[in-house]
Symmetry: C2
Subunit: 202 residues, 2 copies
C-alpha cells in the first residue's frame, strides 16, 4: 500500500474549511490530525479526540526531540502537531488533514517537504465579507479583524502549492478539487522517482 499524503488546508474565516473537510473525511480516505496541547481539557473534551492533552514538560521535550511538526504558544499554552501520530496515519495509507495557519504550514513544510499546502479561499474578498456578515455571529470589530488577518495571510501565500476557491460554501466542488489534487500528486514524478526500477523490477 502506498503512503498517505499530508495535506495542510489553510483558509481565512468564511472560506468554508469545515464543510470541505467534512466532505473529505466522509470519503473514508482522510484522517483529521489531532493537535497536542498543554491546556487543561474543557468539560466534554476527550483526550485523543479533541486534543492530545499532555504536560508542558512533555510538550517541551517533544519539541526538543523534533517530534512537533509545528507548534505555537497562545495565552500561555502550547498547541502543536505531533509528528509520531501524523506518521502513523500516513503509514496506514490514509491521507492526513492538518487545519493550520500559514505560520504553522511553513514550519511543517520545512520539516516535511512532502506536505501539500492548500489555501482555501472564498471566491473574492467581497464574498468573504458578505459571508462573515450574514453569519451574524460576530461583532463588527471581530469581522474587521478577520478581514484584516486575511490581508496579512495572503501576502505570504508563496510557499503554498495550490489555491482552491470555494465558490459555494455548501457545495462539494472545492472538496472534489482537493480530491483531484490528491489524485494528481500521487502520480507526480517526485513521488514516483523510482519509476524505472518499479517498471522493470531492477
Amino acid at each position: 500500500m502506498s503512503k498517505g499524503l499530508m495535506l495542510i488546508i489553510s483558509g481565512p474565516a468564511g472560506s468554508g474549511k469545515g464543510t470541505v473537510n467534512a466532505h473529505l473525511l466522509g470519503t473514508g480516505d482522510f484522517v483529521y490530525s489531532v493537535s497536542a496541547t498543554t491546556r487543561a481539557p474543557r468539560p466534554g473534551e476527550r483526550n485523543g479526540v479533541n486534543y492530545h492533552f499532555i504536560s508542558k514538560e512533555e510538550f517541551l521535550s517533544r519539541i526538543a526531540s523534533g517530534d512537533m511538526l509545528e507548534y505555537t504558544e497562545y495565552c500561555g499554552n502550547f498547541y502543536g502537531t505531533p509528528k509520531k501520530e501524523a506518521e502513523a496515519v500516513l503509514d496506514s495509507g490514509k491521507n492526513l488533514i492538518l487545519e493550520i495557519e500559514i505560520d504553522g504550514a511553513h514550519q511543517v513544510k520545512e520539516k516535511y517537504p512532502d506536505a501539500i499546502l492548500i489555501m482555501l479561499l472564498p471566491p473574492s474578498f467581497s464574498v468573504q465579507e458578505h459571508r462573515l456578515r450574514t453569519r451574524g455571529t460576530e461583532t463588527e470589530d471581530k469581522i474587521l479583524a478577520r478581514l484584516e488577518r486575511t490581508r496579512e495571510e495572503l501576502s505570504d501565500v508563496s510557499s503554498y502549492d495550490y489555491v482552491v476557491y470555494n465558490h459555494d460554501s455548501k457545495d462539494k466542488e472545492a472538496a472534489e478539487q482537493i480530491l483531484s489534487i490528491v489524485s494528481a500528486e500521487k502520480c507526480s514524478l517526485r513521488r514516483n522517482a523510482e519509476v524505472r526500477k518499479k517498471y522493470f523490477g531492477e
Copy 2:
C-alpha cells in the same frame, strides 16, 4: 476565460495512448495537436487534419523564427509542432494534447515551461510485453525493438511531471487520472501567482 493547458502525453507501445486520448477528446475540453510536416500527403490525408503540409523552405524558416516547439527529421522529412497553432488553441481555453516522444517533450519543455509532461505506462514491463504479443500485428523483431526502446526512454523520464499507469487499456481510469492532473494543475500556485491581486482586486 483561463488559458488551456499544454499536455504532452508520451508512452511506449502498448501503453494505450490512443484510447486514453480518445477519452480526453470526448470530453470536449481537449484538442489534439496537428503536426507540421514536409512530406507529401498520402491519399486520403487532409491538410490541417492529419498534418499541416508545408514546404521544406517554410519549415526551416519557422524553425529559424522559433515557431516550432519541437521538431525532428525522419527519412529526409521534417516533422514538428507549430507554436502559433498551439497557442491559438490554448488562448481559446481548450487544453492541447501533444502526443510526442521524450526528445520532443524535452524540446517543448525548454521553450514552454508551462507544459505538463505525462508519461503513460502499462502497469509493468511484463504486461506491456503481453499486450504487444497478443495484438499479433507485429513481427518478433519489431516487438523486441519496441521493448528495448521503452528501456531507453524510461532511463530519461526525469523531466516528466507525472507518471500514469494504464492498468486496463480499454478502461477510462487513466484518462480520469489525467483529468485530475489537469484540474489540480489549474489551481497550482505557479499558475495562480497573482492570488493576492486577484483576491483583493488590487
